[in-house]
Amino acid sequence: MPETTIETCVPVDISDDDIFEAMRDIPGYLDITPGDFKEVYLKAYQHALKRLARSITVANVMNRDVASVREGAPLKEVAELMAARKVSGVPVLDDKGQVVGIISDKDFLEVMGAGQTDSFMTVIAKCLLGKGCLAAPHHARFAKDIMTSPAVTVKPEIPILEVADIFTQKKINRAPVVDAEGRMIGIVSRADVLKSSFFPEGV
């Protein structure tokens, strides 16, 4: 699959005829062909996108109202919280409020018998085949037992363009935002980045 980058985003499909008409609106001889102008326009558009994306930082788009759990929280509580907040992942904090890991629904699937690459449906299938169901043995376990640690965290001042790269490289969907002391102050998700990249006025 070709990688999606900001360069591949094409603006309004401006035609050579549009440029020709615009050049006619300007009196005097313009020393450029419509084709060259179009090339300049497209490149300028990409630069503008990058500039806008660079000017928006994590602090602008992050969600400050984060559901989180302590290391010692029982898995039952973690699952209940994720269900109640309708989120697919929660950061795990230590006593000082520092992020020590993150739990996503994938971590639950994994301990319930799915491999790294298996899906929710794999778990259902195994369950229906009667190979033992699944959540029961994990009753007594805690957040720190299944969390992914250390968690990938980001600083509030970095541009969301970089966050998008981090998400792509690390194949993650969300990252806790931490201050200089490592304390969590928010969370940023793929959806936050996407919404703000292309509709910056909505921030």
């Binding site: 050579d16 006619r24 005097g28 001889y29 313009l30 020393d31 062909t33 084709g35 060259d36």
Partner: protein, 178 residues
């Protein structure tokens, strides 16, 4: 793109200009070249100097007919003529016995020097050639050729361009100075 496919071209030619623009351009060219001719006729008579060289006709096309062009801006107009003239005189002096090499080096080096100094001005190529081909009177000037006629004539064209191109509402000059 394929080598031969490139030769087909990729885009359409830019639009032409209206009659008003043509009239203003004619008038600008008339006054600009006329001014150089007048100064030469009244101030240079009886001297060994000259002010009019053929390349100013090409400059007039740019500074009165395509005034928005980067090639027509003051830096390019004066810088292009001055530097190309230096190149032309040097080429003549270095390759005195080899006229073919002298003209080729003069034009080519003028292009390179103008590109390197952001002063690209096509008439500069002609100014460099004239330094080699201009005959006894030009050769006698030596490097003075770069100041008079090259830079001085360009300066007159520039003054006229500044005064004239800013009269009509639809025109303004220059786009930039340096």
């Amino acid at each position: 793109m394929n080598y031969f496919a490139k030769m087909r071209g990729t885009t359409k030619s830019p639009p032409g200009v209206g009659l008003v623009e043509i009239v203003w351009s004619w008038l600008g060219g008339f006054i600009g070249i006329g001014a150089v001719a007048v100064v030469e006729a009244y101030m240079f008579e009886g001297t060994d100097l000259m002010l009019m060289i053929g390349s100013f006709g090409a400059s007039a096309v740019l500074v009165y007919g395509a005034i928005k062009s980067p090639l027509a801006q003051p830096r390019n107009l004066v810088g292009g003529h001055f530097l190309s003239a230096l190149v032309g005189v040097a080429a003549f002096k270095i390759f005195q016995g080899q006229p073919i090499l002298a003209v080729a080096v003069a034009a080519a080096t003028a292009i390179a020097v103008m590109l390197a100094t952001k002063t690209l001005h096509p008439p500069g190529g002609a100014t460099a050639l004239i330094a080699v081909l201009g005959g006894e009177k030009v050769h006698a000037l030596g490097f003075l050729y770069a100041v008079i006629p090259a830079a001085a004539g360009a300066a007159i064209l520039l003054i006229v361009a500044l005064l004239f191109n800013n009269i009509p509402k639809s025109r303004r000059y220059p786009e930039f100075w340096l």
